[in-house]
Every structure is written in C-alpha cells, then in structure tokens.
C-alpha cells in the first residue's frame, strides 16, 4: 500500500507541475508603455490592470511608465531595435506620423465588429480624434481642450473687474490686475508642443488654420494667426502684464504660479483641476475656468473654432505585437462604460470626458457645467475641432514655434515672423 500511495503522490505532483507549466506557457504577456499622466491616473490604471489580470487568467498585462518629454525618441529607437511594447498610451496628435512609419495597427480592420459596437458610445468628434484616413488607430479615454482662461476669483472680486469676454477687455483686465505682488496674466510660451497647442487654439478661435481645407498649403501666416500672435506680443511686450521670463514659462509653470497666486489669470488647457489636485492649493484660494475671450471681429478666413481637442491618453496598438487579441481585450477593459466614468471625474478630476457615460457622471457636471449643459441640448463640442495632425506636423510645429517666439522676442513683427516660417513649413509639406 505504501508503494501505491507514494506512486500516487508522484503522479499528482507531476500533474500539478505539468499543469502549472502549461498555464504559464498559455499565459500571454501584454506590455503597455504609458506616456505621461498624473499619479492619480497611474494608480487608477494599475487598478484596472489588477482587476483585468484577475479576470483573465491567461493574460498578464504589464505597465511601464515612460517619460512624456522623450516619447518620440523612445518610440523611434524602440521601433528600430524591435523592442516595441504591445500597447501604448499617448496623445492622438502623433497618430498620422506613427501610421506613416508603420508603427500602429488599424483597429477597425482587425476587430471590425467590436469597433462597430463601441463607436456609438463616444461622441463622434472625440471618436474621430483616434482615426486617420478612415481607419481607427486609437481609443480615447479622456481628452484635453484648449484654450481655457483660468482666473483668481479673489483678485477679480477685490478690483471689481468683470470677466473679460473680448480681447480688448482681456488687455484692460490684465493691466488693472498687474500689481507688485502678481502679474496680470501668464501665457505659456516655450517651444513645447503643449504651449504651442494653447496658442494654436486661440488662433483657431480667431478663424485661423494651420493648413488650408485641401491640406496642401500651410496657411498659418493668415490674419487669424497673426492677430492672435499680436495679442500675445502686446500683452508681453507693450503692456508688460506678463512675467519677463515668459518664453521660459511652460504650461506647467503657468499653473504652478497661478496656484501660488503669482498671477491673476492664466492661459491653458483643460487640465488645471488635475494639476490643482496634484500639488494642492493655498487656503482660501478660489479659481474658475472660462472660455478664452474672443476677438470681437473674427479676422481669420475660416469659421471660428469653439475649442481644439487632443486625446492625450489614447490607447493604441503596435503593429508588431504578437498578442493583438489579448491586447485588444485590455483596451476594451479600460474603456468599458464603468471605466470611462472613472476617467471622467470619478477618479480623475478635470479631464474632459469623451463618451456619453463620462458626460453623465455628477463629478464631471461639477467641473464642467457648461459642457454638460450643451451635451444635454445635444450640441456638445459643437464647433470644436481636432488639433492639427498630419504627417510631418511634429516637425512643422517646432518650426512654427520659432516664428512664434521670434515675434515674442521682438525680432520681427508677427506677420514677418510667421511668413518666414511658413515658407519652411510649406517646403516640408510638399516633401511629405
């Protein structure tokens, strides 16, 4: 009997070992590179991964955090070295560039049924941010909108100034709000993409466009952009209501200085609440966000955009992934209706929702009452358009930034500065 018992034990053990090793073999690893984002978001994604892994014993998702500032060089070198992950999450602006390099997998071709079923949950404007040439490459979680004006309520109440709604009023308000203790306004103006996006948002609202409608001509030297740039230049150089170091102050420094009461107004995207949540505010500090004032006479040739949008944490699949099905399961998991509510205000404050589920959360209504009102009327995001994105944009926007800064530094008038860089960009566009 002893012998049989022993044998049985061995067989059982062997079975167990075999079973485990098969399970391990069957378990597929999905690697995500997560570019940017805030601690609260990382925590939330990690939770999603945990529940997903528990729910899918055959799949193991691993998240690696990557620096936002070095995203393009990291991806390019990984692409060349063939060490790409399976999924990435980053901004939608880069989609055309990445598609042309062959990096992204067309989700609408690979999973047509799922995509068709999912599509209606998103607002169409948002859904299209993840598409390029009629194919879907990215699924959005939230998005950021520009331009927004955030203002210190206490300072406004003390001076009795009303919220500016036109450019002239903005200049007047900024002049009155400039004191020894604080500046009137800060516009972020480094060469960073985010800062330029904010400015491009203002120019789009003034009827300017980066490219013409056909997409074959660079037109940012038109009056829409030039007048918007003149506004920046006036605030900075003529009225001196912005800090002398404006060209080194980026979007993040703008918010930090605003939250520490060094400026009465600040210009940015929709992420002020996120930053406030992250670094904390002083006691008694109260702020509000408002749409950026308009030019009373829209000077650009194109329709005025109410806002421009960029899906900054969008999930995309890498074309070389060997576990596309499993990776897709995870994308579906982080963008389920329940998850989308979390992205929109429940766990992550201040980002703009992209789906109906997101728009219906109370937390979102609290931060963006106006947007929700429009949504209920069925005109949400009306007039909002996507950040320009086409192959070569990353390179062109840097060159555009040089024109932008040279006007701010007083090297040339806004018109001359933009004319000079338009030529360079046009050449690149024709080369693409």
């Amino acid at each position: 009997m002893k012998k049989i018992g022993f044998l049985l034990m061995i067989v059982c053990l062997g079975w167990l070992v075999l079973g485990y090793s098969f399970a391990a073999l069957a378990q597929k690893e999905v690697v995500i590179w997560h570019f940017g984002g805030l601690p609260a978001e990382h925590k939330w994604v990690d939770e999603c991964i945990k529940t997903f892994n528990a729910d899918h014993p055959g799949i193991k998702v691993v998240r690696i955090e990557k620096s936002w500032m070095t995203k393009s060089e990291e991806l390019i070198s990984a692409w060349q070295m063939k060490t790409m992950p399976d999924l990435i999450s980053r901004d939608t602006v880069c989609i055309p560039d990445m598609v042309e390099m062959g990096m992204l997998a067309p989700l609408s071709d690979l999973f047509p049924q799922d995509i068709a079923a999912m599509k209606d949950r998103w607002l169409p404007e948002c859904w299209n941010l993840g598409a390029y040439k009629d194919k879907v490459y990215g699924i959005l979680t939230y998005m950021d909108m520009a331009p927004m004006l955030f203002y210190n309520r206490k300072m406004f109440a003390e001076t009795g100034i009303l919220l500016p709604t036109t450019w002239d009023e903005l200049i007047e308000a900024a002049k009155k709000l400039t004191t020894k203790e604080h500046y009137g306004i800060i516009m972020p103006a480094t060469l960073g993409l985010n800062d330029l996006e904010i400015f491009i948002g203002i120019a789009y609202a003034n009827g300017g466009r980066f490219l013409n409608t056909e997409g074959d001509e660079v037109v940012f030297n038109g009056p829409g952009f030039v007048d918007a740039l003149q506004l920046y230049v006036d605030l900075f150089r003529k009225y001196k209501v912005a800090p002398p170091g404006t060209v080194e102050i980026d979007y993040m420094k703008t918010i930090e200085l605003f939250l520490r009461e060094r400026t009465a107004m600040g210009l940015g995207m929709s992420w002020v609440p996120v930053a406030a949540q992250n670094i904390g505010v002083l006691p008694g500090f109260e702020y509000k966000m408002a749409p950026f004032p308009m030019n009373p006479k829209i000077s650009g040739r194109y329709p005025a955009a109410s806002a421009i949008m960029d899906g900054t944490t969008t999930y995309m699949m890498i074309s070389t992934s060997k576990v596309k099905k499993e990776a897709w399961e995870f994308i579906k998991w982080v963008t389920r209706p329940e998850s989308m509510q979390m992205w929109a205000g429940v766990r992550i404050q201040g980002r703009v929702a992209t789906t109906g589920d997101g728009f219906e959360t109370p937390a979102f209504a609290e931060t963006y009452p106006d947007l929700v009102k429009q949504y209920k009327k069925g005109i949400a995001l009306k007039g909002a358009i996507s950040m320009p994105s086409f192959p070569g944009f990353t390179e062109m926007v840097k060159i555009f930034g040089h024109g932008f800064q040279s006007a701010l530094l007083g090297e040339a008038t806004p018109q001359d500065a933009l004319d000079a860089v338009q030529e360079e960009c046009q050449e690149i566009l024709e080369e693409m």
């Binding site: 984002g37 601690p39 925590k43 990557k66 936002w68 500032m69 070095t70 060349q80 930090e256």
Partner: protein
Amino acid sequence: MASLAYGKKFAIPKKIIIALVALFIVVMTLSPFLWLFITSFKHYSEVFDVPPSLIPKTPTLDVYKGVFTGEQLGRHDPWPLFFLNSLIIAGGAALLCTIIASFAGYGFARFTRLPGVSVLLLLILVSQMFPGPSLLIPVYSTMRKLSLDNSRLGLLILYTAFALPFTTWMSVGTFRNIPVDLEDAAKIDGCSRLQAFLRIVLPISKLGMATTALFAFLISWSEYPFGLILLKTQSKHTVAVGLGAYLREFDVFWNEMAAATVMMSLPLVIIFLFVQKFFVRGLTEGALSG
C-alpha cells in the same frame, strides 16, 4: 583667536581672505547639491512655494523611504536596482578599461620601433574627440548589428570604448616614467617580457591604474544619452537614465528627484573625499608627466 598673538602682522588678513575665498568656492560648488538636499526633505506641495522656502517648513523623511522601497508618488522606480546596474556597468567599464589601457600604455611606451605605432597612437588621440551625441545614431545602428542593444554588457563595452582614448594616453605617460632598467634586471633573472610587465611594472604603476579606473568609472557613471537610447527595459536602466525619467509632462517631483540624486551620489561623494589625494597624485604620474 589664539592665532592672533602668534601670526605676523599681515598673517591675519591673509587667513581671512583665504577663508572667504574657500567659503565662496564651497558655496558656489555646493549650491545645487545643497538645494537638492534641502528639497529632498520637503513635502510635495511645499516644493512649489513662491517664493521658495529656504528651510523645509515641516521636514519629512517619507521621500527617502519612497525612493528606497520603490514606492514613489505614482511611480515604481527600483532605485536600488538602478544603482546596482550603474555600479555593474561603470565598474565593469572601469575594470575593462584599466586592463586594456595598461597593456596598451605599456606597449606604446616600450615597443616604439614597431611599424605604424605612431599612427596608431595618433588614431587613439584623435578618436578622443568623437564620443559625443554626434555618434548617437551611428553607434546605435552599430550596436544593433552586433546585437548589443538593450543590453548592459553592450553599454559596458561602449563606455569602455569611450573612456579608452584618454585612459590609454594617460597610461602611456605613466609607463614612460618607469625606467626600463627594472625590467631588464627582471629579464636577466629569467622572466619573459609579459612576466616582467605583470610582476614588476604593473605593481609600480598601481596609482596610475587607479586613476585610470576612477576616470573611466566617473565618465560612465554620469553618461545619459546613450543609456537612454540603448537600454529599453526598465530593469536594465542606470541611475542617470532613471533620473532623466523625471523629465515629465505634469509633475516634476522635485523632492523625489532630489532625494534620489542625493542617495545615488552620496556614496560616490564620500568615496571621493577619501581618494582625491591619490587621484591627484595619479594624474601627476600619468597624463601630466610631460
């Protein structure tokens, strides 16, 4: 104050001048380090105070705890592992570099009549100029062809290559200073050239070799761009690459970065306080022996 009575009349002002200059130098040199040190004890929200507070209001050690355990604000950087990686890569490069440079230095100092020796030495001297960001793309393609990308060994060899020109040249200087008679005496005793080199010459040039090693180590320790491009897996990252990851979208966690910097540099700083004397002497014997 006792020195007042003993010194000559002009000795006192001179002392004070020296003290002031020394203080100025120390402050200038240490200011960023000091600032990082102060910041590493601040809470995250205090980091953004305008104007910045010169002394932490409510000092905390939490940041250090986070860096130590790999549980930072929204990140999981295994700093002890990064430190180990850096130690392996920089230490390995230093070792390899010292061995190769010592042999080569000896060779260039002794075998002066071989054909093409001066051309080779010239090549080494000139190549000293190039290991910089201009080589980033070509080196990266070369490493890929050799399958040395995304590998700690690859980076180790690369850093060795970068440090070799200067260190070879340093050791040429060291060995030229060692009289040939010593080896000749050894050869009479029946040693081969290699034995004479290993047993007699190397021990005398210990100091020069240590300097070589230290130089290679420090160069490799702080190199950033090649590490960033060549190491793709987080578990292989070096300290410099890990610190570079603090360049971020929304939140530079200055206090955490400061704590990480302090913790990662402190061991080296302490070591260097002790070895600088030898380093100076080693330099005298090696690169500077004209």
